[in-house]
């Protein structure tokens, strides 16, 4: 069973979605149960995966099957494969995805409107997310990447808040633009790379590992690293890197292409917000680490300072925007922008610390943002009002809720003991030492980024002060009586999240030992290859 583990993880939700299609829409409970069963199965598969995973052994659980092979005559052979596997980058994210999707299912219990459609879309989304994190063939990755878009669009557009149409279309167009940028590079890569395993015939492959090897580029092709084709101000490879970078940066999201996120979050129903923040954003960072950086290390090395700078700008700009937000969910959304900036900064450092910090940050932010959005959802469920200024003194009325809020806020502002701290300190250490190792970042970037910590503390504590402390008082179209404390379902959604955040903050070694070999390899590879490729004319 081991060699099919990833496929099991991937196809279980798809099969369940297919099965659900044929069930009558009236039996609402069935769809919930089917989804939960899928989640439980996925957890079991994941456990087997984790138990058999060997840190440091590179890609594992690899499945490589021919998928599309088209003989195009003079154009060579088009070859795309069903190629999946996990390593130190994807395993934490796959684990996160399985965990968060389970949480999201439970958080979806309250959905009453068109339950069948909702859960079918959720299952498709589930498969697409797992697929994106495991695919090692560019075409396959792209397929899953695009496949996420559609269910997400409908989940926001049909089950969302009052301005859901605007938000969903904005989300769709933004990410579609990103997809197109990625598509362009994918086609350029496809014509530039050949499969080294086949001799004689020219086989164009979408294999990401082949693409990451400079010797597999067909000489005189458009992206050949030894050719350095100039297109305007940049070389073709730099252009390609930039396109990929912006394609994934939209997903991340990075300032200034982030404005879809607050709107999408504010309008999306709680479980969808959770998935969006915890998982979808990660695909941006994942794409950079899996595709953009390894395939174009030369351009990445060249533009590393730019990537790092954009990271720092995101950290500070996102934080400031969070401070100015009047809506709790919007505040959390902007804090996500701020925190994902650390991923950029860490990756751009080209150091093991920075890379590990970036991956750790993706994992940790997945947990923390999920918790934050569940918490925001709790309040919205009670009163349908998330305006910060409409609340005051909730601590006395909702003590358990406030306790969880404290955990989530302090975790998010990077208090030691919570997972975010490990991630951020690693990013800082890596970003600062980058220059000393010949990496692309200047020391000042890391120093300026520490401002993000202060701003983070400011907006969270200010929110605590405004909403939770002081005398109990509410404004708006609801009464104090609606503010009941957490119910059991909410409590049991939040508790595992809080425990996980605490666990990975106090005991980082289990996760770090998975990331460590990957981070070392990644940093050494991009730094060395980046330098060498840049030197050769």
């Amino acid at each position: 069973m081991q060699q099919y583990l990833l496929s099991l993880l991937l196809f279980t939700p798809l099969l369940a979605a297919l099965l659900s299609l044929f069930l009558p829409a009236t039996s609402t409970a069935t769809f919930r149960i089917i989804t939960v069963v899928v989640n439980v199965l996925q957890v079991m598969f994941l456990l087997v995966l984790l138990l058999n995973y060997q840190a440091g052994a590179g890609l594992q659980f690899v499945e490589l099957k021919p998928w599309i092979t088209l003989n195009m005559g003079n154009w060579g052979i088009l070859k795309a494969s069903y190629f999946v596997g996990v390593d130190g980058l994807s395993l934490p994210l796959v684990a996160l995805a399985v965990f968060i999707l389970f949480i999201a299912t439970i958080a979806s219990w309250k959905i009453t409107q068109n339950v069948k459609g909702y859960f079918i879309l959720l299952l498709i989304l589930n498969a697409a997310i797992i697929g994106s994190f495991t695919a090692l063939d560019f075409l396959l990755f792209y397929l899953f990447f695009e496949f996420m878009l559609l269910p997400m669009f409908f989940l926001i557009a049909l089950w969302g808040g009052p301005k859901r149409e605007y938000a969903s279309i904005k989300f769709f167009l933004y990410t579609l633009l990103g997809s197109i940028l990625i598509l362009i590079v994918m086609i350029a890569l496809y014509v530039s790379v050949h499969d080294p395993s086949t001799s004689g015939q020219l086989v164009h492959s979408f294999n990401l590992l082949h693409m990451a090897d400079a010797s597999n580029f067909i000489s005189t092709s458009v992206l050949d690293p030894h050719r350095a084709l100039q297109l305007g101000p940049f070389s073709a490879r730099t252009w390609a890197f930039l396109l990929l970078f912006f394609g994934f940066a939209i997903k991340l999201p990075m300032v200034p292409v982030h404005t879809w996120l607050p709107d999408a979050h504010v309008e999306a129903p709680t479980p969808i917000s959770v998935i969006l923040a915890a998982l979808l954003l990660k695909i941006g960072g994942y794409g950079l680490a899996r595709i953009a950086f390894p395939i174009f290390p030369d351009a990445a090395f060249h533009l590393g300072w730019f990537v790092g700078l954009m990271g720092v700008i995101s950290i500070i700009y996102g934080g400031l925007n969070a401070m100015a937000s009047k809506d709790l969910k919007r505040l959390i959304a902007y804090s996500s922008v701020s925190h994902m900036g650390f991923v950029l900064l860490g990756l751009a450092s080209f150091t093991a610390e920075g890379t590990a910090g970036a991956v750790y940050q993706m994992f940790s932010h997945g947990l923390i943002s999920a918790m934050l959005f569940v918490l925001a959802g709790v309040l919205a469920d009670r009163t349908n009002d998330r305006t910060i200024s409409h609340y005051s003194g909730l601590a006395g009325k909702m003590p358990t809720y406030t306790a969880f809020i404290l955990v989530a806020f302090f975790a998010s502002l990077g208090l030691p003991g919570f997972s975010g701290f490990i991630a951020e300190i690693m990013v800082f250490l890596g970003a600062f030492k980058s220059a000393g190792l010949g990496g692309p970042l200047h020391e000042s970037l890391a120093i300026v980024a520490t401002l993000g910590l202060v701003i983070g503390a400011a907006y969270y504590l200010w929110t605590l002060q405004r909403m939770f402390f002081g005398p109990l008082n509410v404004k708006g179209d609801f009464s104090v009586d609606q503010l009941s404390d957490l119910n059991r379902r909410e409590y049991f959604i939040l508790l595992p999240l809080a425990l996980a955040i605490l666990f990975f903050g106090i005991f980082p070694q289990p996760l770090m030992s998975v990331i460590d070999p990957y981070a070392q390899h990644f940093a050494a590879f991009v730094l060395e290859t980046g330098k060498n490729l840049t030197l050769t004319p």
Partner: protein, 646 residues
């Protein structure tokens, strides 16, 4: 190097126990049902007592033995180990004992002071956690670990200062304390980054051999100093400390004495070797400014707790000056003595507040009990508290026979030695410190006089009784250890067992300094007595030079404006651009739509119309009338004939 010394199992056990008991107190507080919340207070105090005993054993076993170092790998990355190290030498063992001991006394005192408080469980939980975090800083042998506990101390102080969170001022003050500390911590983090980039280790022992060029070393030490400035409330990050007075008084005692603010000075002493000469000069100047600022501001305060808060500021400044002058042991001695007498003063102040609150509660008279202008003549009603106040106040003022005299003497001696011969700016610092010690006497005397001497005003009608024994006992203990005897046999020579064992003792002690210092404080006492009725009404001093308002105006407001600007940028510029492109697309779409309809469709329609017209025209030939057919046939033949003929 060091003689191999094997520490006993008892030592290991007690070291773990000393840290575990406060943490246990934190954890257990959550498991006690709310109905019996008073159990929490007793249980927490008991656990802290055990912790104190354990730390006493640690102190006894470690004293004057080779340092105990233990490293446990926390996690590793790229071959580098991030370890959680413990390092116990004389200084940390002593500090551990003092922290745990003072915290125990504060716990005990809180049993009485906080009785009946609705959030008593949360209070004791955080008190335990606060102690644990501080202990973590003390025993840590690793800068990263120190930073972890450093931030946790910040967090627990946030929770404790804001304990009465319904009060807006408390919520505000706790927020400020944390954010200002965060500013300092950001600097600390930069220091850590420099250390890591150059040494790849956070181990304090290993850092001593770190080869770093002096510029980076200076920057690293100044970075770490930023953290210390935040935590030890030095200029310019001091405003949180006076504001933090809104928290419960025992918490203030803890924050001001053994935990929190002490952490900065302790760390500075511990990583003193990292500091280069230019960095130390900056340290000395910052400390001096803080000491002066605190002392003159304390003169104008009329809230008991505010006076004490500014006095802490000033005393911390003195410690930092001593560190800047290269004498960590003088600073540490003052830190230790200060821990006792300042805790004692706060507890005594708390006793006054508590007793008056109780009395007010019974008689329904309302006035601000913390305002010394409302107080006076309490000597008779609160004789015990008065005695405690006098002893601990004398120690603060540095009168002979108190611990404060010894440690202040140590600082002055260090400064005298530091400034050396001739005139330099260092002499100014020495003069400023002398002035601070003078002012300390004045404001301390004035405070005690105003509270206990003179005639009663607002309190005359109240039936006031001393606080319960559970509160009096800790006060008595702390007052007891404010005497000289615990630090040095000779009340005029600070070279006691403690001073000589907490650093390399420098063979310099001038009896002259002690004598001059004794005369100086007696003189100050005289001045204080003469000017006791003079009130310093300067609003400038009352508000500590309006420093918090300056911060608000020039830091907070611009940041909020910047935040509003980014919000605007998102809404108007980025989204505006998006909407504009969307509209542009729409316009293009409409144009192409029009082109489709008018031109393309027009053409197609035109062709179709032409065909239709032609069709209907030809159709009209076939009307079904035979005459018409004959007509058209004839017509066609005629045309045909004409055409062939031509």
């Amino acid at each position: 190097m060091d003689a191999i010394h094997t520490y006993s199992f008892l030592f290991h056990f007690c070291l773990v126990a000393a840290l575990a008991f406060p943490l246990l107190s934190f954890v257990l507080s959550f498991y006690i049902s709310e109905k019996y919340s008073w159990i929490t207070s007793v249980l927490a105090s008991f656990l802290l007592l055990l912790g104190t005993l354990a730390s006493a054993v640690v102190l006894y076993q470690a004293w004057n033995h080779p340092p105990f170092a233990y490293r446990l790998e926390w996690f590793s990355l790229a071959g580098y180990s991030f370890s959680a190290g413990v390092y116990i030498n004389n200084i940390s063992a002593l500090m551990l004992f003092i922290v745990t001991g003072v915290s125990f006394l504060v716990h005990l005192y809180s049993v009485g002071y906080m009785a009946g408080d609705a959030g008593i469980q949360r209070y004791f939980a955080m008190l335990g956690f606060f102690t644990f975090a501080m202990q973590g800083i003390v025993v840590s042998g690793n800068l990263l670990m120190t930073f972890v506990f450093w931030e946790l101390v910040g967090f627990s102080s946030y929770m404790l200062i804001g304990h009465w969170h319904e009060i807006p001022a408390a919520a505000e003050a706790s927020k400020r304390a944390f954010i200002i500390n965060r500013v300092g911590d950001a600097g600390f983090l930069v220091g850590l980054m420099i250390v890591w980039a150059h040494g790849h280790s956070f181990d304090i022992a290993a850092l001593q051999h770190m080869p770093v060029d002096p510029t980076w070393m200076t920057l690293a030490s100044l970075g770490i100093f930023c953290g210390i400035v935040g935590k030890s409330a030095q200029f310019p990050l001091f405003t949180w400390l006076p504001d933090a007075m809104v928290g419960p008084t025992p918490v203030s005692a803890l924050i001001h004495a053994a935990t929190m603010v002490a952490a900065g000075v302790f760390l500075l002493a511990r990583v003193h070797f990292l500091f280069t000469v230019p960095a130390l000069h900056i340290v000395a100047v910052v400390g001096c400014i803080t000491a002066l600022l605190g002392a003159v501001s304390a003169l104008a305060q009329h809230d008991i707790k505010k006076i004490l808060a500014y006095s802490t500021l000033s005393q911390l400044g003195l410690m930092v000056v001593a560190l800047g002058a290269g004498s960590p042991q003088a600073a540490l001695l003052h830190l230790f003595t200060h821990a006792f007498f300042k805790a004692c003063l706060f507890l005594a102040a708390g006793a006054v507040i508590h007793s008056l609150h109780q009395a007010q509660h019974q008689s329904h008279v309302h006035f601000d009990v913390q305002d010394i202008r409302n107080l006076g003549g309490l000597e008779k009603k609160l004789p015990f508290t008065f005695l405690i106040f006098v002893i601990s106040g004398s120690a603060l003022a540095g009168l002979p026979l108190t611990s404060g005299f010894l440690s202040k003497d140590a600082i002055l001696t260090a400064l005298v030695q530091w400034h050396g011969e001739g005139f330099s700016w260092k002499l100014l610092i020495l003069a400023a410190v002398a002035l601070v010690s003078f002012l300390t006497v004045v404001y301390t005397f004035r405070m005690i006089w105003k509270i206990f001497k003179g005639s009663e005003t607002a309190t005359a009608q109240l039936h006031i009784s001393e606080p319960p024994a559970v509160m009096r006992a800790p006060m008595a203990v702390l007052a007891g250890v404010s005497l000289w005897i615990w630090f040095s046999w000779n009340p005029f020579n600070f070279y006691g067992w403690m001073y000589t064992n907490i650093g390399e003792a420098k063979p310099f002690h001038s009896g002259m300094v002690s004598i001059a210092s004794a005369i100086w404080v007696i003189l100050a006492l005289g001045v204080a007595y003469v000017t006791r009725q003079v009130t310093v009404g300067s609003p400038l001093l009352l508000n500590a030079f309006y420093f918090d308002r300056l911060l608000k105006q020039f830091v907070e407001k611009p940041i909020l404006q910047l935040a509003a600007l980014t919000h605007h940028a998102d809404k108007k510029w980025i989204d505006g651009f998006l909407h504009a492109t969307a509209y542009a697309q729409l316009i293009v779409a409409h144009l192409t739509g029009w082109f489709d309809r008018a031109i393309v469709d027009g053409l197609v329609d035109g062709v179709a119309g032409a065909a239709k017209g032609l069709g209907s025209f030809t159709r009209s030939f076939q009307g079904g009338k035979i005459q018409l057919y004959i007509f058209w046939a004839t017509f066609a033949i005629i045309i045909f004939i004409i055409w062939t003929l031509l």
